[in-house]
C-alpha cells in the first residue's frame, strides 16, 4: 500500500478572550497540538477520543476547512506530491474534488431549501464539471449507488429520515469521485439499526470506488467494525496508533485502556466493570505539563508530570506515547471469542 496522506506536526490553536476592544487574544485553545501520522491509500483509519479531544478539528484541518496554525499536510495523488497547506484558495477548491467530508448531523449538513437533486449535483455545478442532462444522469447514478430511490430526487430533504439524509450527504461527497473522505461522526446521529446500514454502505463504496476514509467516531464498536487502523486522541494529541485488533486486544496506553473498558456489552446480564477515570479533563487552553494524561492516569509517575512522552513504536505498526508502555500490562476491550462475534 502507498501512503496517501502525510500529516506532520499539525497544530490548530484558537484564540480565546480579548484583552481590549481591538486587543490581542488572552490565550489559545490548543484544539490540536502537534499531530503527525500517515494515511495509506485504501485504508480506513479510525480516530477516537472523548468529546473535546480535537477529533473534529483535526479532521477539518486536514481538509483545510479550518486553517491549521502550523504543520504540513502532503497529499500523494497519481505520483504527484501536493503540499495541501500551501495551496491558494483556487487550488484548494480543486483539491476538494479529491478530499471530501461527511458530516455528523445530516439535518444541518443538507440545505433544506434545495431539492435532493440540487444538493447532490451542487459540486458538479460549482466546479463546472457537468450541467443539464449530464448532471441529472450523474446524480442519478451516484444516488442509486448510495441506495437512494431516483424517483425521490425532486423532493426536499425535509421529506427524508436521518439515514436517508446521510445517504444524500454521502452521495454529495462522492459525486466528484474523491480519493479521500473524512467521515466526521458520520453515524453517531443515527439509530443503531440505521448505523449498521450506513456503515455497510461505506464499506461497499470503499471497495467499489477505492476510497480512503478517516473515520472519526466515539462509538468504539462502530470503529472496530469498519477500521483497519485506529488512532486515539486525548487533549489535542495522539496517544496511540495501532491496527484495530492490536489496539482493542492489547492497548498500550492507559487512556486507551480506559476507553476500551467503557465499551458497553451487548449482554445485559453481564456485569460491567469500567475503569472510570477520575477528575476533570484539563482545559485545552491550559494543558498540564509532561504527559497530558498524567492528571487522570493511575500509573502516572513523576517522570510523566515533567517529560512529554513521544509517539514511539512498540510493536509492528503499533505506536504509543507513554513513558511506561514497555512495563505496563493493560486490559484489552474484550475476549477474543467475543470479538469474533462482531
Amino acid at each position: 500500500m502507498s501512503v496517501l496522506l502525510e500529516i506532520s506536526d499539525i497544530k490548530v490553536h484558537f484564540p480565546v478572550g480579548k484583552t481590549g476592544f481591538f486587543g490581542r487574544p488572552a490565550g489559545y485553545v490548543r484544539a490540536v497540538d502537534g499531530v503527525s501520522f500517515t494515511i495509506e491509500a485504501g485504508e480506513t483509519l479510525g480516530l477516537v477520543g472523548e468529546s473535546g479531544s480535537g477529533k473534529t478539528t483535526l479532521g477539518r484541518a486536514i481538509l483545510r476547512a479550518i486553517e491549521p496554525t502550523s504543520g504540513t499536510i502532503r497529499f500523494h495523488k497519481d505520483g504527484q506530491d501536493i503540499d495541501v497547506t500551501s495551496l491558494n484558495n483556487k487550488q484548494l477548491r480543486a483539491m476538494w474534488r479529491d478530499m471530501q467530508m461527511i458530516f455528523q448531523d445530516p439535518y444541518s449538513s443538507l440545505n433544506p431549501r434545495m431539492t435532493v437533486r440540487d444538493v447532490i449535483g451542487e459540486p458538479l455545478l460549482a466546479n463546472k464539471v457537468a450541467k443539464g442532462e449530464e448532471l441529472k444522469q450523474r446524480v442519478k447514478q451516484i444516488a442509486t449507488q448510495c441506495g437512494l430511490d431516483v424517483e425521490h430526487l425532486s423532493r426536499y430533504p425535509h421529506a427524508f429520515s436521518g439515514g436517508q439524509r446521510q445517504r444524500i450527504a454521502i452521495a454529495r461527497a462522492l459525486i466528484l469521485h474523491p480519493e479521500f473522505i473524512v467521515c466526521d461522526e458520520a453515524v453517531s446521529a443515527l439509530d443503531v439499526s440505521i448505523q449498521a446500514q450506513i456503515l455497510n454502505l461505506l464499506k461497499e463504496l470503499q471497495i467499489d470506488l477505492s476510497l480512503t476514509f478517516l473515520f472519526i467516531a466515539h462509538d468504539l464498536a462502530a470503529v472496530a467494525y469498519v477500521c483497519d487502523r485506529v488512532e486515539v486522541m486525548y487533549l489535542g494529541t495522539i496517544v496511540e496508533i495501532a491496527p484495530t485488533e492490536g489496539l482493542y486486544y492489547t492497548p498500550r496506553h492507559p487512556y486507551t485502556e480506559a476507553l476500551m473498558s467503557a465499551i458497553p456489552e451487548a449482554d445485559p446480564t453481564k456485569e460491567m466493570t469500567p475503569y472510570l477515570l477520575t477528575g476533570e479533563r484539563p482545559s485545552p487552553a491550559n494543558p498540564p505539563d509532561g504527559c497530558r494524561f498524567n492528571t487522570r492516569c493511575r500509573y502516572a509517575t513523576d517522570l510523566c508530570r515533567t517529560d512529554v512522552p513521544l509517539l514511539t513504536p512498540i510493536a509492528s505498526n503499533h505506536f504509543v506515547a507513554c513513558h511506561h508502555a514497555e512495563i505496563l500490562s493493560l486490559q484489552g476491550a474484550m475476549d477474543h471469542e467475543e470479538v469474533a462475534l462482531i
Binding site: 477539518r60 481538509l63 444541518s108 433544506p112 451542487e122 425521490h152 425532486s154 426536499y156 425535509h158 450527504a169
Partner: protein
C-alpha cells in the same frame, strides 16, 4: 418520464393534492401562512387598498383638485335605494343639495333636498386625468347625473375627500414601498458586510446602528426634513422624504441580516457548500440568501408600517410632503385644529385608512413570522 415525482398532474384533483415532500420553502410557508386567519384578513385589506390606489383615477368620481364651490365643507353624501316616501329605486341615488346661508351665523350650509334625486350612473365623464400617466381620459367609474357626489364629503375648498383619500393612498403606499425597498437594500448590504466579514467592519457598522437607534426618531426626521430647501418641487420633496425615512429605517433589517448570516455561516451545509467548491459569492447567493430571505420578508412587513407612520407624522406636522401632493399625512394636516374637527369631522377619514393599512401590515407580519421557518419543528 413516468416516475411518480415527475408526472404532470392532469386533473384538478391531482393538481390540488399537496405534495409536502416536493414543496419548496415558499410553498410550505404559504401553506402555513394561509392557516393564520388574521394574516389573511390583512392580505385582503391590503389588496383592497392597493387596488384602490392603483385605480384611484378611475374609481374616484372626479379629479382630487377639482373644487366644488356649491358644496364647501360638505358632509358625506349617503347612497340611497329607498327614497323619503319609502319607494324602492333599482338605480341608487343621492339626494340633491342646495346651499343657503345660515340666518344666524351667515355660514353657507348645504341643505338636503329629499325631493330631487341625483341617480348614480356608471362610467360617466368628468374631470380629465392621465391614466397611470400613460394616456388622458375622463372616464370615471361612477358619478351622479344632474349634480355631484362626495362619498366622504368635501373640505373647506370644496375638494372631494374620497378622491383625495384614494390619491393619497397611492402616494403613501408608494412612499412606504420605495422607502422599505431602499431600507432593505441598505440594510441587506450593511448587515451582509457586518455578518460576512466580521471583525472591524462588524464593529464599526454595529456601533453606527446603535448610534442611529439611540437618536429619538421624530426630532431626527424633523431636523432632516427641515433641512430640505423650501423651493423644491413636490416630487423632489417626495424623493427626499423617502430617502430620509430609509436612512433612518435600515438599522433593524441590517441587524436581522447580520445575525442570520452569523448563524448560517456556522451551519454544516455552508461548510459542505465550501467543500463542494462553491465560491464565496455562490455560497452567499445560492446557499445563504434563500435561507434568510423569509426572515427579511418578515422584517420588511414590520418596517412598512413604521415608514408609513413616519411619513404620516412628518406630513401631519407640516414638515413632510406638502400640498398639492396628496398623502394621508397631508390630508390629516387639514384636520389639525379643533374647529375643523368639530365642523368637518369627515376630514379624519384618511386617518382610518392609516389605521387599516398599519393593522393589515402588522397582521401580515405576524403571520409571516409564524411561517418564516417552515422547517422548525
Amino acid at each position: 418520464m413516468t416516475s411518480p415525482d415527475t408526472t404532470i398532474p392532469t386533473t384538478k384533483e391531482q393538481r390540488n393534492k399537496r405534495r409536502p415532500e416536493m414543496a419548496s420553502q415558499w410553498q410550505l410557508m404559504w401553506w402555513k401562512f394561509k392557516k393564520h386567519y388574521l394574516a389573511m384578513v390583512g392580505v385582503i385589506a391590503l389588496s383592497v387598498l392597493v387596488f384602490l390606489a392603483v385605480f384611484a383615477g378611475i374609481i374616484s368620481p372626479d379629479v382630487p383638485k377639482a373644487r366644488n364651490n356649491a358644496y364647501l365643507s360638505g358632509p358625506p353624501m349617503g347612497i340611497h335605494f329607498l327614497d323619503a316616501q319609502g319607494d324602492f329605486h333599482l338605480r341608487p341615488f343621492v339626494y340633491a343639495r342646495t346651499t343657503k346661508r345660515d340666518p344666524v351665523t351667515l355660514r353657507k350650509i348645504a341643505v338636503v333636498d329629499t325631493d330631487t334625486h341625483w341617480p348614480i350612473e356608471f362610467f360617466v365623464r368628468g374631470g380629465s386625468y392621465k391614466f397611470w400617466g400613460l394616456f388622458k381620459t375622463d372616464i370615471h367609474l361612477f358619478g351622479a347625473s344632474g349634480g355631484f357626489i362626495h362619498l366622504f364629503g368635501t373640505d373647506s375648498l370644496g375638494r372631494d375627500v374620497f378622491a383625495r383619500t384614494l390619491y393619497a393612498t397611492r402616494v403613501s403606499l408608494s412612499i412606504g414601498l420605495v422607502g422599505v425597498t431602499l431600507a432593505f437594500v441598505i440594510g441587506a448590504m450593511m448587515g451582509g458586510i457586518a455578518g460576512y466579514f466580521g471583525g472591524v467592519a462588524d464593529n464599526v457598522i454595529m456601533r453606527l446602528i446603535e448610534f442611529i437607534r439611540s437618536i429619538p426618531t421624530l426630532p431626527l426626521w424633523l431636523a432632516l426634513s427641515a433641512a430640505l430647501p423650501r423651493d423644491w418641487s413636490s416630487f423632489q420633496v417626495y424623493l427626499a422624504i423617502t430617502l430620509i425615512l430609509a436612512l433612518v429605517g435600515w438599522t433593524h433589517l441590517a441587524r436581522t441580516v447580520r445575525s442570520k448570516l452569523l448563524a448560517l455561516r456556522e451551519e454544516d451545509f455552508t461548510l459542505a457548500a465550501k467543500l463542494s467548491g462553491c465560491s464565496n459569492s455562490r455560497i452567499i447567493l445560492r446557499h445563504l440568501l434563500p435561507s434568510f430571505m423569509s426572515y427579511m420578508i418578515v422584517d420588511v412587513t414590520i418596517a412598512f408600517p413604521e415608514i408609513l407612520l413616519a411619513e404620516t407624522s412628518l406630513s401631519f406636522l407640516g414638515l413632510g410632503l406638502r400640498e398639492p401632493v396628496e398623502s394621508w399625512g397631508v390630508l390629516l394636516f387639514a384636520a389639525q385644529n379643533v374647529r375643523t374637527l368639530a365642523h368637518t369631522p369627515w376630514l379624519l377619514i384618511p386617518g382610518l385608512f392609516v389605521v387599516i393599512a398599519v393593522l393589515a401590515f402588522n397582521f401580515i407580519g405576524d403571520g409571516a413570522r409564524d411561517a418564516a421557518d417552515p422547517y422548525s419543528k
